[in-house]
């Protein structure tokens, strides 16, 4: 593999990892607060639809992004209402969110645009264009570093940079602020947080809303960053891969970024090379596609390290009387 090919694969990795990363950070906030969320896929899908529809109607990518976030937060609030206020089973609520999004997006899109459950193609103003960072052209001629800066780091939609900025911000918020401490505490020992006079319900709702916002950005990136509109089921399981990444990263922000980049790299390599020839052994492309899940299962089985999920995760908090 020559340097140029490597750069192209890594460039593709960044694009493929971005929605995973955003969804993964979304799940991180929600699950660290004790609300398991397998509805990442559904929220992303609904966000993608909202982004595609509003960006097409208004011709503005930013309005599309706002609509995506609003749609995703709405779904997050439904999840919150079911699992926090009414103390329902969080997994079942998450599954319901996925089904709801899968059906509702196609239904609304079909009724609205009559194009078979997709939105019409969004034109240039409605899409997040690839932005060229300053000095990309002048530095491009510098050996090694130049192409890395010009091709790999520069030339992505702004949402990509937002996604990668979310990681240090999340790490800071979770580990260095009072809010973060409480958020983590509410996922480990909500009774202790309650004893200290802090509202468990409010904290969990905040976490769920943050989750909705991040899923919204992820969906918008899919629909109007990478593509030019919404196509039914366009998330294609990315919410579940993000969930796998979250478990693999042991619910920690920096590790989550590493994992998402790894999973993105696996996808990018699988897309570039159908079959990988390793001196006699041919790795089929299917193995590369399945690898994220295989790695997660290996981790969960306890072969490598030990997963430490938030202790109160998946349980609704009931105040003692």
């Amino acid at each position: 593999m020559d340097f140029l090919t490597l750069l192209q694969v890594l460039d593709s990795t960044v694009r493929l990892a971005t929605p995973l990363l955003l969804a993964c950070m979304a799940g991180l906030f929600s699950e660290r607060a004790g609300v398991f969320d397998i509805g990442l896929e559904g929220k992303m899908l609904f966000a993608a639809f909202s982004a595609g529809a509003v960006a097409y109607v208004t011709g503005s990518a930013w309005l599309g992004l706002i609509a995506a976030i609003a749609g995703s937060v709405l779904f997050a609030l439904i999840h919150g209402l079911a699992s926090i206020t009414f103390r329902g089973n969080q997994l079942i609520s998450g599954v319901a969110i996925n089904f709801l999004a899968s059906g509702l997006t196609v239904l609304i899109a079909q009724n609205w645009f009559k194009q078979g459950g997709r939105t019409p193609s969004v034109f240039s103003g409605g899409r997040f264009e690839e932005i060229t960072l300053p000095f990309a052209e002048t530095l491009g001629s510098v050996p090694i570093f130049g192409p890395i800066y010009a091709d790999l780091i520069s030339g992505h939609a702004i949402l990509v940079y937002i996604a990668f900025a979310v990681v240090p911000i999340s790490a800071f918020v979770l580990y260095k602020t009072r809010f973060g401490l409480r958020l983590r505490a509410v996922g480990e020992a909500p009774d202790a947080v309650d004893t200290a006079g802090i509202s468990v319900v409010r904290l969990r709702y905040t976490a769920v809303i943050i989750c909705g916002v991040l899923c919204g950005i992820a969906g918008a990136y899919l629909a109007i960053g990478l593509q030019a509109g919404f196509v039914r089921e366009m998330t294609a399981g990315r919410g579940f891969i993000a969930l796998a990444a979250l478990i693999f990263a042991n619910w920690r922000p920096w590790y989550a970024m590493g994992t998402c980049l790894l999973f993105g790299l696996l996808q990018a390599v699988a897309l570039r090379y159908q079959n990988i020839d390793l001196g006699g052994i041919t790795l089929p492309v299917q193995l590369m596609d399945a690898l994220p899940y295989i790695l997660t299962v290996i981790l969960l089985a306890g072969f490598v390290g030990k997963p430490q999920p938030p202790r109160a995760g998946g349980e609704a908090y009931v105040k003692e009387r």
Binding site: T5, Q8, S12, R15, L16, P19, G103, V106, Q110, K114, Q115, G116, G117, R118, S121, L222, L226, Q227, A228, V231, R232, E233, M234, A236, G237, Q267, A268, L271, R272, Q274, V285, Q286, D289
Partner: protein
């Protein structure tokens, strides 16, 4: 209570007579959905033409999961619809279970193959996709400036490999030195609806030198056509005429006249002849699309070369290898 019984009885009789009186055709789409801009939408077009030309009516249904296939088929058969037309290769196995239970109903599977000896009431309509793909492959190789063309398939199944193989043969026929890159999106039905992966594949193929991409990938193909337009390279659509989706960037579309197959089956009604029907270039079952959107991209010389090959195929002087006949492709490795 007795009144209720009578009421139910009356309702049931009414339903039965209503069912018996109806011999309208029915159309069931595959998972891609009715308006997929491609395969299923072509079927819908054929059914609508049946309505406008014959004044008949039909019922259609979009399945949303694998489990609905048998359910939907039985419901239509029990309601007395005849013939029942389905689109997509996945229906064949369902027919084997359902068709014997309704010997008086005629079933049509487009793209699926059901053994006519075992199931005399099923018509399997197959297309010679390799012949149509061959022609668009010729056009792609003529339009390519880099000498590299590529193919993006949806789910990795023999049918899609048949497209790829025909395409590669056509490209090599024009230019023996042409490089053909072939990628499949995935191995699950999700591969039909993943435009993001389609885009990444297109970018990867462009990076490897390709400047014409043929997408036979359902909804994934929309991502391919979009990215090809963004990156300033050419693309080739599939099944329906997709030239209008990205005007000036879609070189042509490989047409599969699903609409003709649906129209003919519906028009024949319950007198439909069953068995196996293969629609190739000679029957105008496949072809390539020319319209205002791609007129500027295709020169008369290109068309002349393709028409010559088309005439040879129809005359039987030139045979295009069909991947599904022996599961190998002489010019392409999968």
């Amino acid at each position: 209570m007795t009144f209720m019984k009578k009421l139910y009885g009356a309702a049931a009789t009414l339903a039965l007579t209503a069912g018996a009186a109806m011999a309208d055709p029915a159309l069931i789409y595959d998972l891609g959905g009715k308006f997929d801009k491609s395969f299923n939408e072509a079927a819908y077009g054929g059914a609508e033409r049946f309505v406008s030309e014959t004044g008949g009516s039909y019922k259609d249904f979009e399945i949303t999961s694998e489990a609905q296939r048998e359910q939907a088929l039985r419901r239509f058969a029990e309601s007395g619809f005849n013939p029942i037309v389905t689109t997509g290769f996945s229906w064949a196995s369902v027919f084997e279970a359902v068709a014997p239970d309704y010997p008086d109903t005629k079933f049509v599977t487009i793209d699926g193959f059901v053994d006519p000896a075992k199931h005399p009431n099923v018509l399997s309509i197959l297309f010679a996709e390799h012949e149509g793909s061959y022609l668009v492959g010729m056009m792609a190789a003529q339009a390519s400036k880099t000498g590299t063309v590529s193919f993006v398939g949806g789910m990795d199944i023999p049918l899609i490999r048949k497209f790829a193989c025909g395409y590669a043969q056509g490209a090599k026929a024009v230019n023996p030195d042409v490089t053909v890159i072939s990628n499949m999106t995935g191995t699950t039905p999700a591969a039909w609806n993943d435009p993001v992966k389609g885009s990444e594949l297109t970018k990867a193929q462009k990076a490897q030198g390709s400047d014409v991409v043929f997408a036979a990938a359902g909804g994934t193909g929309l991502g391919v056509l979009q990215t090809a337009a963004d990156e300033g390279i050419l693309s080739v659509g599939v099944d329906s005429n997709q030239n209008y989706l990205q005007p000036g960037s879609v070189l042509t579309s490989m047409l599969k006249r699903v609409d003709v197959a649906v129209f003919d089956s519906m028009s024949a009604g319950s007198d439909l002849e069953t068995g196996v029907k293969a629609l190739g270039l000679a029957q105008e079952g496949v072809g390539y699309a020319m319209d205002d959107n791609n007129a500027a991209l295709v020169s008369e010389d290109m068309v002349a070369v393709i028409e010559a090959a088309k005439a040879k195929i129809i005359a039987g002087e030139l045979s295009v290898h069909d991947y599904t006949s022996d599961d190998t492709c002489p010019v392409l490795d999968f």
